[in-house]
């Protein structure tokens, strides 16, 4: 095949791939996939009668996908909670560990298991980053005396759109019988992960503020009513990248961060957050 035709053909394939990928996003049938090792751990833990409730609670607090599934189930008609469950802590204390264990098991069995060839490292990084963001969001909320549980949840779920989109990518690849190359849709993932996660979370009966925060965490000033939590999650996101060095963010960049003023975070408070870097990193790496 002549060079020009081959280039044209590749370009067409890429265009077709992107088109189908965008179509799938527009269809909006999102599912939050779970890491296979997390699913196995949950299954093992929930089938062990002696399973320590605290250990399971910690697992739920440390995995965005598991947390998301538990919250979705907790607010579903199946469990019909008497009050809407708005945080993981509330789910644990209101529903009791028997039900939480059951939900975790259901989630582990039903959730799509992540299989994105060649993307394993990236997927793990996304999950680690979510935990780090949640940890920082929690600390900032403590400093500002804002709701800690909600801040944690927003941090944990803020990038939930990324694994969803990567999973979608695999499905499109399978559908079109093409190999998966995430770089082809990198820009789409970057641009749309917030809105995809927002749409995903909307169906879980969480407070509207949570979905709005997730959608707007990269442009918090545009958030109609949740600018405060969106800003908090936005800066926690950057602090998490700094701690894990998953994206080059320097201390100087953090010191000049545009969200410091609207969040009223003074220099010493920021330094205290920066100093937590190793603790946050350790917590995130414990995820796997």
């Amino acid at each position: 095949m002549p060079q020009a035709s081959r280039i044209e053909s590749v370009a067409e394939t890429v265009a077709r791939f992107r088109e189908r990928f965008l179509e799938k996003i527009a269809e909006g049938a999102f599912e939050l996939p779970m890491l296979p090792e997390v699913a196995s751990m949950v299954m093992a833990a929930t089938q062990d009668e002696a399973c320590d409730a605290r250990r399971l609670s910690r697992m739920i607090h440390r995995d965005a996908a598991l947390a998301g599934h538990v919250l979705k189930l907790a607010n579903s008609p199946l469990y019909a909670p008497t009050v809407p469950i708005v945080s993981l802590q509330q789910a644990v204390s209101r529903l009791g560990m028997k039900k939480i264990r059951e939900m975790a098991l259901v989630a582990a069995c039903q959730a799509k298991v992540f299989r994105v060839p060649g993307q394993d490292a990236r997927v793990h990084q996304i999950f680690r980053h979510s935990v780090a963001t949640a940890a920082y969001a929690q600390e900032i909320a403590r400093m500002r005396r804002w709701n800690v549980e909600e801040a944690f949840l927003c941090g944990l779920l803020h990038d939930a759109g990324k694994p969803v989109l990567l999973q979608l990518l695999v499905e499109v690849g399978r559908e079109l019988d093409l190999g998966v190359d995430a770089s082809l849709v990198e820009d789409v993932v970057d641009e749309m992960h917030g809105s995809v996660a927002g749409r995903l979370v909307e169906g879980w009966r969480l407070p509207a503020r949570v979905a709005e925060t997730i959608v707007y965490h990269h442009r918090p000033h545009e958030a109609p009513s949740a600018a405060q939590t969106a800003m908090l999650t936005g800066i926690a996101d950057d602090l998490a990248h700094f701690a894990l060095q998953s994206r080059p963010v320097t201390e100087d960049e953090l010191r000049a961060h545009p969200l410091l003023v609207p969040l009223n975070l003074y220099r010493d408070e920021l330094e205290a957050l920066i100093a937590r870097k190793d603790l946050v990193k350790a917590a995130a790496e414990a995820v796997g």
Binding site: A53, R54, S57, T82, V83, P84, V86, S87, Q89, Q90, V92, S93, R94, G96, M97, Q138, A141, R142, R145, W146, N147, V148, E149, E150, P207, R255, A256, L260, V261, P262, N264, L265, Y266, R267
Partner: protein, 484 residues
Amino acid sequence: MSAAPERYDVVVIGSGPAGHKAAQQAARLGKRALLVERELSIGGACVHRGTIPSKTLREAALALTSFKARTGSVFELKLRDDLQVASLMTRMEEVVRAHEQMMSDQLRRDRTASRHGRARFVDPHLIEVESVGGATTRFVADHVVIATGSKPRTPPDVPVDHEHVLDSDSILSMTYLPKSLTVLGAGVIAAEYASIFAALGTKVTMVDRAPRPLAFLDPEIADVFVRAFHRMGSRYLGGRRHAAVEWDGLDTVVTKLDDGSEVRSEKLLCCLGRVANLDGLDLSNAGLRANERGLLSVDANCRTAVPHVYAAGDVIGPPSLASSSAEQGRRAVCSMFGVTLGHGSDVIPAGIYTIPELSQVGMTEEQAKQAVGGCLVGRAQFGELARGKIAAMEEGLLKLVADPGGRKVLGVQIAGEGAAELIHLGQEALIHGAEVDGFVDNIFNFPTLAEAYRVAALDIVLQRRALFPAGVPGSPTDAPLGCS
């Protein structure tokens, strides 16, 4: 070369009731004033974390409970299962914003300069303000008013994490109503939040070493609060202290008490006092230091040991009321510029926004016994008043304390809705040295709760007649009682 620091007649640090009023008073005297506030918006804890937000939540709780009480069985009132704190606070942002706007407008109208940042003394007259980004600006101040307020005290053995174990700054950040709440402390803030959450259906347990809450109140009045609190399904555990507080890592805060018992709850609120916000001010650079109670010592005009530095509000200690703080701010500025001050009354009412509301002014029965050797006390139960019956306020009580001869009003204590408003009639009586008979001889609106004054006064008159059939020595002879 950097520009010389800008000079102000007064630099006020902190924009709560004391600071705001001080800046306003300085501007009204034609002085150049600078108001420095570390938070993003002005108003202090009163507007953003204390008085205004908690009273907004209280109004919601009160509306629910009083509607239920007043409509009897006409409506079957049940709180929605999914009731969340946030939904009860929907008006809060609006109320806070309006209050903040009003304060900002006043400052603008008075052309008072303001600066967002944290202030510290470089020397007695030089104030440095650090912005959020770390930039610093210096100002020369002929006078300084320190009005930085206070923050909740966190005892080292109470692990406040603002998530499971909260304090009064973080309690209103909760997005859902806890099923159960332990409240450590028995002061005003503890009692207010305890009764608000109890009224909303949370099972509240108050724990304190004091045998009854609100120890500074007349015991009968405090008992009205306790009875109402218990009736809402909550309990007060007096004479006990927390020995350990721990979140179990799962779903419960466990509070071990020093009598060996334990209280388990979903959340805990620590209300064990407040401490003055003096950190970071570098007071020593101004030649000042906190006293043994961690407060700034001042004279009657709020002047500290350093003549050009004044302090007002919570940083100088009780009464730590928004009303008295504002007056202290005004008094400080008037004093620094030699403005003659009117004779400020020391008759200050205390209003406690529990459910039911409590208020008192002047001497309690016990204080009167100690101060003047005895007293006559008149009582009026709200349940005996037409208005009390109509409004289903069976629990209310007004106590009128008079001198041993039953003539002069010495104090008033009230429990019941509207107490904080009703008390002002008693306050005026005290300020003007009114006699008990004034409440009997004059006509009040009917039906009103203010009639309680008349009923209590009549009670005293009857006691007086029984005690002194020939009349109180040195006093006018009692006229026959008219129809009450």
